[in-house]
């Protein structure tokens, strides 16, 4: 319910091509994180692992508590945290639960872009997750369409 309201109240944040260049990220389909994701069994956990791997090489900083961390620095810690704190939740629930506020400070986790603008971390992650789901749907529809074509 809360998640639904949150999603409805805020516009979908999608990284434009210019922004991708700015944060030095490859488009989703050609990224190493996506390639790895497609080789793994698709589960809610694998989607979360994708999110970590996707933003690891980005030129972004995360404000966690009172300190800014590079995404490349934070990624191994987030992976270890995910390994011990994942309890079969959906990826969306996990992002909302753990990526909204910093522990134990309680303040919002922010992402700082190279131009100095700050965005909520959970919003960026949820939008990327939505983009991933969209891409998965396309891949699935393509593969099911391929199956319907009779072999010659």
């Amino acid at each position: 319910m809360i998640f639904g309201l949150l999603m409805a109240s805020q516009p979908l944040f999608a990284l434009t091509e210019a922004e991708l260049t700015e944060v030095q990220l490859a488009p989703m389909e050609t990224s190493a994180a996506y390639q790895q994701f497609m080789r793994r069994p698709t589960t809610e956990l694998s989607k979360l692992i994708y999110l970590i791997d996707r933003f690891r090489p980005a030129k972004l900083e995360i404000l966690y508590g009172t300190q800014y961390y590079d995404t490349s620095f934070a990624a191994p810690f987030v992976r270890a945290f995910l390994a011990t704190h994942y309890k079969n939740e959906t990826a969306q629930y996990w992002v909302l639960h753990w990526c909204s506020t910093a522990i134990p400070f309680g303040n919002t986790i922010w992402v700082r872009f190279p131009n100095g603008e700050n965005y909520e971390a959970r919003k960026i992650l949820l939008d990327e997750l939505a983009a991933l789901e969209e891409s998965l749907k396309t891949v699935r529809s393509k593969s099911s369409h391929r199956q319907t074509i009779p072999s010659l």
Binding site: Q36, R39, R40, P41, T43, L45, S46, I49, D53, R56, A75, P76, R79, A80, A83, T84, Y86
Partner: protein, 545 residues
């Protein structure tokens, strides 16, 4: 019976009693050779080596006086020809008899690796941080430890482990069998009592679901396989690790201290070649086994995932191999200079544009590489006791590998990109030359002595490798036995690599020939090599420490 007679009889009684109790015990001790276990752990090792021994080293007066007087201690596990004979720690291999490129690539091998055609039964699983390892049994009943690559560096840790194992084996150390293996999760079957060890700190029962979940964190190759290094479990009884300091506690018959062994001291040189940061007791293994009805010990080097450009689950950090874990000297330098002192590793990192060659190779180059200043994670007395003679022996062994032979061992890492293999081969070949040049300058680089008729000939390894030209030739000092004393009889300079000793051989049974590269500068002391000659030929060779 007089008092003197009573005392005499009592003395014999005591001797008889001692003999009666001691002889059966000593005979039993030599029969049994009872070996003891010696447990160790990372934190204990760090405390011992980096805090306790470093803190108390100034109370070790023997070592302190030797350091002040610059008096080195000669290695005691060497033979009369200044070589390390085969023993429980070391077996002469490539440097004595060249191994073929095929044998170098294969390394120590008992099997072809785990049988991946059948299922692999998981007996234990360990997932800690981004490290993942499994203890598996294959369909043939052999057990292996599979260690997987970290997520962002496919092939980094696995190739480093396999390549370094090939080098250490060819050099002469005992290593377990390591091979690269590619598996899929559907090949893994959970054993009935399989346990999972993870970051939670609790042992859990391993389930197929849990295993699948944990494998999501590992990198997958283009064919959908997980890449691992497979270390075969050695036959015999595991008795923990072996020490780099003091007498081994495993074997009561081992009378030498670790720091008196050239094979242990020289690990400093070999570790510098292979960029082995964690060369420490936690990467060793003592194994007792039966051989011809006798129980014997063998000491192994294991766990090479911290070599070359890797360190456990990531690339080597820039300061690794330049500083100890707690480096008091470097800390003081930075503190006193208020951070103004730019360290060599900082310059190196900056020159490398703060990135490594490739994710599969990690951070491994020869910028600012100084063979004399290479540091492992923890300081070891054995490495500090390395003398020029020990280092010469080690450098000679390193120099025995050609570029092609290095390439053959690098090939064992099964790296997918040719550029990565070439980078490793080039860096290792360059580093070999840097090590050879450095240590040949600090010891007398003469070797391969032959005595035929009255002619003593030798090879200058530094000239042979192209590090030096023939220069001013060699200074020769000859001593003869005069009664019980050594008496100098001749001192001259030669330009060739041979000396005719006919003039002096007839007068004495034994001759001592001291040779050193002649120096252009007067009063400059050059390191010597001493050769003792007798009627039967060369009796001993000794490089000056």
């Amino acid at each position: 019976m007089s008092k003197a007679e009573r005392l005499f009889n009592f003395r014999y009684l005591v001797i008889a009693a001692v003999l009666l109790t001691w002889l059966p015990l000593s005979a039993r001790a030599s029969e049994m050779q009872e070996f003891k276990g010696n447990a160790s752990g990372t934190y204990r090792d760090i405390f011992d080596q980096n805090i306790f021994y470093e803190g108390t080293k100034y109370l070790n007066f023997d070592r302190l006086f030797r350091a002040i007087r610059r008096q080195p201690v000669r290695a005691k596990d060497i033979n009369v020809f200044d070589e390390v004979p085969d023993n429980a720690y070391f077996t002469n291999r490539h440097a004595r008899k060249k191994l073929s490129a095929q044998a170098l690539e294969k390394g120590y091998s008992e099997t072809e690796g785990p049988d991946t055609k059948g299922p692999l039964t998981v007996l234990k699983a360990k997932f800690f941080d981004s490290l993942a390892s499994l203890l598996v049994r294959d369909s043939r009943g052999d057990e292996y430890v599979l260690k997987f690559d970290p997520y962002s560096h496919l092939a980094l840790a696995t190739s480093s482990e396999v390549i370094a194992s090939r080098f250490y084996y060819a050099i002469g150390y005992n290593v377990p069998q390591y091979s690269i293996v590619k598996i899929r999760t559907d090949q893994l079957v959970i054993g009935p009592n399989a346990l999972l060890f993870d970051d939670s700190g609790f042992q859990k029962k391993l389930t197929q679901e849990k295993l699948q979940e944990r494998f999501l964190f590992l990198p997958v190759d283009t064919e959908g396989n997980f890449r691992a290094s497979a270390g075969k479990i050695l036959p015999g009884t595991y008795l923990g690790t072996f020490q780099f300091k003091g007498r081994g506690k495993h074997n009561p018959g081992d009378s030498l201290k670790a720091e008196e062994r050239r094979s242990i001291r020289a690990l400093q040189v070999f570790a510098s070649w292979l960029n082995d940061y964690r060369m420490s007791r936690i990467s060793t293994l003592a194994v007792a086994f039966e051989s011809n009805g006798k129980r014997e010990m063998k000491y192994y080097l294991t766990d090479f995932e911290d070599t070359l450009g890797a360190v456990l689950d990531r690339e080597k950090a820039p300061m690794f191999t330049h500083e100890y874990l707690f480096d008091y000297g470097e800390t003081i330098k930075s503190f006193v200079s208020l951070g103004g002192y730019v360290k060599p590793w900082q310059k190196r990192w900056k020159e490398a544009d703060e990135k490594s060659a490739s994710p599969a190779v990690g951070y491994f180059d020869n910028r600012y590489f100084d063979p004399g200043r290479f540091k492992t994670q923890l300081p070891h007395d054995a490495f500090k006791d390395l003398t020029p003679a020990d280092a010469f022996w080690a450098a000679k062994t390193v120099m025995s590998f050609s570029d092609d032979e290095i390439a053959a061992m690098v090939k064992a890492g099964r790296l997918s990109r040719r550029e990565d293999e070439d980078h490793l081969t080039k860096t290792l070949a360059e580093r070999r030359d840097l090590i050879g040049r450095y240590w040949f300058e600090r010891a007398c680089p003469l070797d391969d002595f032959k005595f035929s008729g009255t002619l003593l000939s030798f090879t200058n390894l530094a000239v042979q490798a192209g590090f030096q030209d023939q220069g001013a030739g060699y200074q020769v000092d000859i001593d003869q036995m005069d009664g019980k004393k050594r008496q100098p009889v001749a001192s001259f300079t030669i330009r060739e690599n041979s000396i005719d000793l006919g003039r002096w051989l007839g007068h004495s049974q034994n001759l001592w020939v001291g040779i050193s590269p002649a120096s252009d500068e007067k009063n400059q002391k050059q390191p010597h090599v001493f050769i003792q000659l007798g009627s039967s030929g060369i009796l001993s060779i000794e490089h000056e420490d």
